[in-house]
Symmetry: C2
Subunit: 237 residues, 2 copies
């Protein structure tokens, strides 16, 4: 039976980490809000007979199982679809990397929404200018440096973040690099020069046949200014 | 062999979620930076021969295993110390709740640091006043409402978040309620009136013999204005 992915229909957002994992696994799925309307998403989200109600999208339905929180969905898919090592130490390491990526994603979001998600960007622009500057000047380099280090120390070589095979940490890092490059093209051009292993990994993931086909398909929503990674030129530099 | 917990010595911070789980499990551990100095923490953090370097504290050493990211450490301890269900659906649900708590913790931190962690609070106070207002007016009620719902829908009753026994999701929710009540006493007094199940759970966790002993011991660092939950009266209301 096909998975059901519940996420907003007009953005990549956090759902994209799940979409990429499903694409790489060649796993059939219904992108519920896009194929059946957003009401199909809110109906399940708000249903009063759901034992494990998610706090927010994305959530994934697999038969009777309903699983929320991006990193948790990926932990599940990693095991089921062979996108993570089978041994405990490897699984936890992939999860640890994914959680660090999740922190980075939240920080990237807050560059344009430093005061509150319920307010418009235009209503928090002065604060966004300050926060984006802090993010560009410190966090991007720090985090890219950490990924470089991980790749350099992988005893199986620097082709993948963990071990000798692709895991969902790799597809997630690909997505973050793409997103940050969309949002902060100037800053990322500068910072990626110091992260050659990360660049090579991004290219390696992009060239995977299933990922390549997904990226060229109508299923891949283009980046836009409703998502997490937004290109506001005034926030770049 | 005792666990080694690596975390900042002067704050509860994210390390406290691990300390509480270890206390409830009655698991021996060394609080490394407190017992051996902060240099023992930075030495391992920065060591160049570590295969799985953590991005930031807390991290836990268990023999040769080194595990970072709070939710990931708890996932590990949940299995090993019997603080999570053994079945997959239950384990994932506990992890999902913990990840939602982690999001809430980051948001609570950002009420006093909306622009950047590397700046002082005093240098981002106008922005903090705005962000704290958004947090108090929307997110606290939303999140407490979610925890109430989970407790109400637990088929095993509302004594614990998941199933009929305590899990690390319960000790973590206790900690968040304590932290928010310290940081925002006025707002929380108002909001907790609408969350009687959450209040009862907090009291139930606080009364667990091992938790009670831990909270009364010197190991429990008092809340302070260097941690995640800070009491700045101007941010409450």
């Amino acid at each position: 039976m096909a998975y059901e992915l519940y996420y907003w229909p007009n953005i990549q957002g956090r759902g994209e980490f799940v979409r990429l994992a499903l694409a790489e696994a060649d796993a059939p799925y219904v992108d519920v809000a896009r194929e059946r309307g957003t009401r199909a998403l809110t109906a399940l989200w708000e249903a009063e007979d759901v034992e494990h109600p998610p706090f927010a999208p994305p959530f994934l339905k697999d038969g009777k199982k309903l699983i929320g929180q991006t990193a948790n969905i990926l932990l599940y898919l990693g095991d089921k679809e062979g996108l993570a090592p089978k041994n405990e130490v490897g699984r936890l390491w992939v999860n640890q990397i994914q959680l660090t990526i999740a922190d980075l994603v939240s920080e990237a979001h807050d560059t344009h929404h430093p005061i509150g998600s319920d307010l418009y960007y235009e209503d928090q622009k002065p604060e966004a200018l300050k926060r984006a500057q802090e993010f560009r000047k410190g966090r991007i380099a720090q985090l890219l440096g950490w990924f470089e280090t991980i790749l350099a120390r992988n005893p199986k070589g620097d082709s993948f973040l963990v071990g000798a095979r692709l895991t969902y940490a790799d597809t997630s890092l690909f997505q973050v690099i793409e997103g940050l490059s969309y949002a902060f093209p100037k800053a990322m051009k500068r910072e990626l020069r110091k992260a050659p292993r990360v660049v090579a990994l991004r290219d390696r993931v992009a060239a995977r046949p299933r990922i390549k086909a997904y990226l060229q398909s109508a299923r891949r929503i283009p980046f836009n200014e409703q998502g997490i990674f937004r290109h506001y030129p005034e926030l770049d530099g």
